[in-house]
């Protein structure tokens, strides 16, 4: 499957436009240059034009990721991947469809275009389909950190070794990941729109087990120098030691102090409720609640792709610039996010939150930032007569979509707080808790930080002290 052409094109575009990047120019740990992405896109646009598409949009996505995984105090999996995909959406006579390939030779691109056209032709005309947008202007964001891109398997292995050594020294067992990588995305269309974005990402996550207990710490950033794997391992180790000898408490309503990861993983389930399409489909918990005092007055949420702690492209799946949107102000849901289509239907302006077309979900805010407060975790603990300190939540699923009742478990460190002090470890609980109610019961907020968990994508959220959090059952550890 080389870039060699296998057949003569019936309507051959100029060769210079099809001068796709050669493999020899592409070395590992070095993404294609933006001009090469543009050349792929221009080549595909020209091919599509020659096959009769009225309009065309092309996405190119490239990843170069590595992940070192460890368990039982040793590396057991260690992987690397490189991949590039070209996704073509054609429009013909008011119909649209998408086809994707991971080959960039001319035949493969032509095959994707043909598949897209064939899919498009198969459906009824869409009276709501908008023309592709024209050129846009974008705010610049810089989320590419050379130290992350330069990280080697040996660098990751040595950091893992140090984390494992901490565990071994304390009679514990370490497990986790150290991941690093770089990725980029570019979009172009037949009306001249072009946008490109690249970022690096690094993540360290560690679980320390001191049977039968465990605890956990995790960090994620564009720059690997923003966190210290050893400190994360130390923190998880110390907490795992304190988590042994857990006592069983009865289920019920407790005041909880949720660390940022715990907050993230439960409030993260709210993100799609702010999509205009979700409200139009009547599947959002905010139907009939916009403009009302749904949350406590201390809750403010924005979607802000430009926040310094956020990652992600400054444009959406159609290439529209992402805008900062105030979603919740003083506990009142004020605004939604819109794709071009949902904006037109609602007579609003698009906010740059659309997914790549065609899709049935419309849009969503992907860069949520919760307003924080000034209370430190220590102050939250000191102010608590009786409550629970929650490290993280796990396996969260939606029980009631309108009241936004979520179920899930506590995990990796649940501690009793009594008379302002952290006390004994407690056996893990199952919760069934409305997120709407939870965000009405927030008593204290910590400073907002970039939080990372396992259930929701990364957001900027504070630690929270919440009254009357509902635990329904208890497990065996």
């Amino acid at each position: 499957m080389s870039a060699a052409r296998k057949r003569v094109l019936p309507r051959k575009p100029p060769a210079r436009m099809l001068a796709l990047p050669k493999e020899a120019r592409h070395t590992r740990a070095e993404l294609f240059h933006e001009r090469e992405l543009r050349r792929i896109i221009d080549g595909a646009l020209l091919l599509a034009k020659s096959t009769g598409a009225d309009e065309t949009e092309v996405h190119v996505d490239e990843v170069d990721d590595s992940l070192t995984r460890f368990a039982n105090n040793a590396i057991h999996q260690n992987v690397a991947e490189h991949g590039l995909t070209v996704s073509v959406r054609t429009v013909v006579d008011g119909r649209t469809a998408r086809a994707t390939t991971n080959r960039i030779d001319e035949d493969s691109l032509r095959g994707a275009i043909d598949a897209s056209l064939s899919l498009a032709h198969s459906q009824p005309k869409d009276p709501h389909l908008l023309p592709v947008p024209g050129k846009q202007r974008y705010r610049k964001v810089d989320r590419f950190a050379r130290p992350t891109a330069a990280l080697t398997p040996d660098d990751r292995a040595r950091a893992v070794r140090r984390a494992c050594d901490i565990a071994i020294k304390r009679g514990q067992v370490a497990a986790g990941i150290f991941a690093s990588g770089q990725s980029q995305t570019a979009i172009g269309n037949s009306r001249g729109l072009f946008a490109a974005y690249r970022e690096t990402h690094a993540e360290f996550s560690v679980t320390m087990q001191e049977q039968p207990a465990a605890s956990w710490a995790k960090a994620n950033s564009a720059n690997v120098r923003d966190f210290d794997p050893q400190k994360l391992a130390e923190r998880a180790s110390e907490k795992a030691h304190r988590a042994t000898n857990a006592q069983e408490l009865p289920p019920g309503r407790y005041t909880v102090i949720l660390e940022p990861s715990a907050v993230l993983d439960i409030v993260g389930f709210l993100f799609y409720d702010f999509a205009a399409t979700a409200l139009a489909d009547k599947r959002s918990c905010l139907n009939d609640r916009i403009g009302k005092q749904v949350f406590g007055k201390n809750i403010t949420v924005v979607d802000d792709a430009y926040h310094p702690l956020q990652l992600g492209a400054p444009f959406d799946g159609e290439g529209m610039p992402r805008e900062r949107v105030l979603l919740v102000d003083g506990g009142v849901p004020k605004n939604l996010v819109y794709s071009r289509a949902s904006a037109k239907a609602a007579k609003k302006k698009p906010t740059g939150h659309g997914f790549a077309l065609p899709n049935e979900y419309g849009e969503a805010p992907m860069n949520l930032v919760f307003g924080g407060g000034k209370a430190s975790l220590e102050e939250m603990i000191a102010s608590t007569e009786r409550g629970l300190l929650v490290t993280r939540l796990w396996y969260i699923r939606e029980v009631d979509p309108y009241e936004k009742v979520m179920t899930g478990m506590t995990r990796d460190g649940l501690f009793l707080v009594e008379k302002g002090k952290v006390g004994a470890a407690v056996r893990n609980f199952r919760f069934n808790q409305s997120v709407l109610e939870m965000l009405r019961n927030v008593e204290l907020l910590g400073p907002a930080v970039r939080a990372t968990g396992e259930e929701a994508f990364e957001m900027v959220v504070p630690a929270m002290k919440v009254r009357d959090f509902h635990f329904s059952e208890v497990t065996k550890f």
């Binding site: 499957m1 040793a74 590396i75 260690n78 690397a80 991947e81 080959r103 067992v173 019920g252 599947r283």
Partner: protein, 486 residues
């Protein structure tokens, strides 16, 4: 393809690998959806690449590439060896693999109608017709339908001499109606929630499920749920429909028996398991009538966990997991088999794609049929609740405590199906739950359900698994806790 694979394996060997295996995979997928009478997603994708796993310096390395040239696969193999040598910086002991024979084979999953050859217009017409049928019902506020087809070719080669080509055809479809009224959202799906039924079949699966026929009922039930009584909170008798029981098996049997999880290899992400090695052949997992197997062979059925060879080149097998209630077996691979006294892997290494490392995965984890018929089961139940079609699922990270809710429930009173119940849920502890099973319906009602979206591993891999189940009854179950307020 075999030339490239030989080149990759040679490169790995020359760079110092003691063992290597590689997979070239070509994945083709088509997705069609509708929403409220309009086409939603209409997309097709294709991906081809190579992943190579090597054992060097006693440790593992894996690299993947989409550069399908001799230079590309050479660089990829060299990278895998370099990564394995880096792994050795933090190793505790050398990896040891159970012996396995070399196989040269080619296999294709049987199907009658290639979905990629069925006209798109026919496929979309079916979805739009089902969508229209649901929208005819007053009170329905959202209708959704979907079709998904996948064709996967994989070429496996290993340094012990195996060369195996497999082709799988996978089809899936489903419909759903949602009704928003007052302060509630209610939803019904067919034949299952979260994308419907999926199987190792062609378009004949879609035709057999008769989406159009079921569309009106699905929509009517979504609306009717708003007038239904709330499921009570109590301890009582529970009858589970087959699809919900399939997910119960997945979460409370399938995941706990993964040997990598048991050994702590998933401790940081998916969690561990209560099924520690000391419990093998000793734990009373379920009641005497509970028999569960892990069966990847095609004779078990066209499940999402059916294949001829796993992604480590080990032939498909059937393993007893629970026999007459006793815990009998784990899911293992060539690296872990010896830890449970096995001379050979149970053949459960699977990978999502060419760019992912094979890991231990469920195949078809099925509860074998019993002897009851549904009508007899209901007639035999004085007071109980029948729950059907999953709505939410959650279980702790050692797989003890679970909670499920379903889309719909039915009160069973004096041996008869009585009123409809909304917001049903149940919860419990895994072994207590399976030990409370006192009736399992027979082979006529046994369906091999497909779970297409099982997530595991880092980087995350999504895998399809199969779960054979028939309606079954459980006693003294905690019902309704999900909606309790105190």
């Amino acid at each position: 393809m075999w030339d490239l694979s030989a080149h990759a394996l040679d490169t790995a060997r020359l760079r110092g690998a003691k063992y290597a295996d590689m997979r070239v995979m070509h994945l083709r997928q088509r997705d069609l959806t509708t929403k409220n009478g309009q086409v939603g997603t209409l997309a097709q994708s294709e991906s081809i690449g190579l992943g190579i796993r090597v054992l060097a310096s006693g440790a593992w390395g894996f690299a993947s590439t989409d550069r399908m040239t001799r230079e590309g696969v050479s660089a990829c193999a060299a990278q895998a060896v370099a990564i394995a040598k880096a792994s050795a910086i933090a190793k505790r002991k050398d990896v040891v693999m159970a012996p396995e024979e070399a196989y040269i084979d080619s296999w294709q999953s049987p199907f009658r109608k290639d979905p990629f050859e069925i006209p798109l217009e026919t496929q979309l017409a079916l979805l739009l017709a089902a969508d229209a049928e649901m929208r005819r019902v007053k009170g329905v506020t959202l209708t959704e339908t979907d079709l998904q087809f996948r064709k996967i070719d994989s070429w496996f080669a290993s340094s012990i001499g195996s060369r195996i080509h497999q082709r799988k055809m996978i089809s899936g479809c489903g419909i759903a109606a949602t009704a928003f009224q007052g302060e509630e959202i209610q939803k019904r799906s067919y034949p299952n929630s979260f994308g419907g039924q999926h199987a190792l079949q062609g378009y004949e699966l879609v035709e057999s499920l008769e989406l159009l026929k079921h569309a009106p009922r699905v929509a009517e039930e979504a609306v009717a749920l708003h007038s239904a009584a709330q499921c009570p909170q109590k301890t009582g008798t529970l009858i589970l429909g087959g699809s919900q029981l399939g997910l119960q098996i997945h979460e409370s049997v399938g995941h706990p028996i993964e040997l990598d999880r048991v050994l702590g290899e998933e401790a940081n992400f998916a969690g561990t398991s209560f099924l520690t090695l000391d419990k093998l052949n000793k734990l009373r997992y379920g009641s005497d009538i509970v028999n569960v197997v892990a069966d990847a062979r095609l004779e078990h059925g066209p499940g999402l966990g059916s294949f001829a060879y796993d992604d480590e080149g080990v032939p498909a097998q059937c393993t007893d997991i629970i026999k007459a209630g006793e815990f009998r077996g784990y899911l293992s691979n060539r690296e872990t088999a010896h830890l449970v006294g096995l001379k050979r892997s149970s053949g459960t290494m699977r990978t999502e794609s060419w760019n992912r490392l094979p890991i231990i995965r469920m195949t078809n984890i099925s509860l074998l049929p019993g002897t009851w018929r549904s009508e007899d089961l209901i007639a035999d139940t004085d007071d109980g609740i029948l729950m059907e079609t999953n709505r939410s699922w959650s279980i702790d990270d050692r797989r003890y405590q679970f909670q499920f809710s379903t889309e719909i429930g039915w009160e069973i009173k004096d041996g008869k199906k009585a009123r409809m119940l909304k917001n049903p849920s149940y919860s419990g502890i895994t072994t207590e739950f399976w030990n409370s099973c006192d009736a399992i319906c027979g082979a006529d009602e046994w369906v091999l359900w497909g779970t297409p979206n099982c997530g595991k591993g880092q980087p995350m891999q999504t895998m399809g698994t199969g779960h054979g189940a028939s309606p079954s009854r459980f006693r003294n179950i905690n019902i309704g806790a999900a909606f309790s307020k105190s």
